[in-house]
């Protein structure tokens, strides 16, 4: 049972990662990266690392996205994409 969960979660993490790389919109990309982090914290929870899960959820994906959003605003978003 754990296996299936983990595989699904991992797929979600990787999907988030791929989206973060592929999406040309920086806002979408940063949110995808945050989603990957959120799924990662779920995986941590399942794998017996609740402390890490909390840290990742709160710091890595939670506050991480916030500073990205602020940075985007300061950097003139929505601006031209790099492609």
């Amino acid at each position: 049972m754990l296996d299936i969960f983990i595989i699904v979660i991992c797929a979600a993490i990787l999907l988030g990662g791929v989206l973060a790389v592929v999406l040309s919109d920086v806002l979408m990309a940063s949110v995808s990266a945050g989603a990957a982090g959120l799924f990662a914290s779920l995986a941590f929870l399942l794998l017996g690392a609740p402390d890490v899960a909390m840290a990742e959820a709160a710091i890595g994906s939670g506050l991480g996205i916030f500073i990205f959003l602020y940075a985007l605003k300061k950097a003139g978003y929505p601006g031209k994409s790099d492609r």
């Binding site: 990787l14 990266a33 794998l47 017996g48 890490v52 990205f68």
Partner: protein, 120 residues
């Protein structure tokens, strides 16, 4: 079920995330995308660290009422290291973003190719 152990699946994910992060850093010219790449690398490393500490059938290394001698724990050291790594990763991401903003203010662009004033 599946032949792969849980921690291997997680490791593949972690390394995959690291690779994705580096590909973002190397391919995208937008420095904000590069920073996103770095934060993906950080997440990936955290996943790898936790995966490396996983013990088959292990539970969180927190002793409570239902802990018995037979209880298997996952490695607490990896968890501790992962927490440290996440916090440091966040800190470094924040400062990188600050530099990205600074660059944007000075140049009005986020394109990394524009930032080559000193070279050779």
């Amino acid at each position: 079920m599946t032949a792969l152990p849980v921690s291997t699946v997680l490791m593949v994910t972690g390394f995959g995330l690291v690779l994705l992060g580096y590909s973002a850093i190397l391919i995208h010219r937008n420095i904000l995308k590069m920073v996103i790449g770095f934060s993906l690398v950080d997440s990936g490393i955290a996943i790898i660290v936790v995966a490396l500490g996983y013990v088959q059938g292990g539970t969180a290394p927190i002793l409570d009422a239902d802990t018995t001698a037979a209880t298997v724990f996952v490695d607490p050291i990896n968890a501790a290291l992962a927490v440290t790594a996440i916090v440091i990763g966040f800190a470094v991401t924040a400062i990188t973003l600050a530099y990205a903003i600074r660059l944007y203010r000075l140049h009005g662009t986020l394109n990394v190719d524009a930032f080559t004033e000193s070279r050779e």
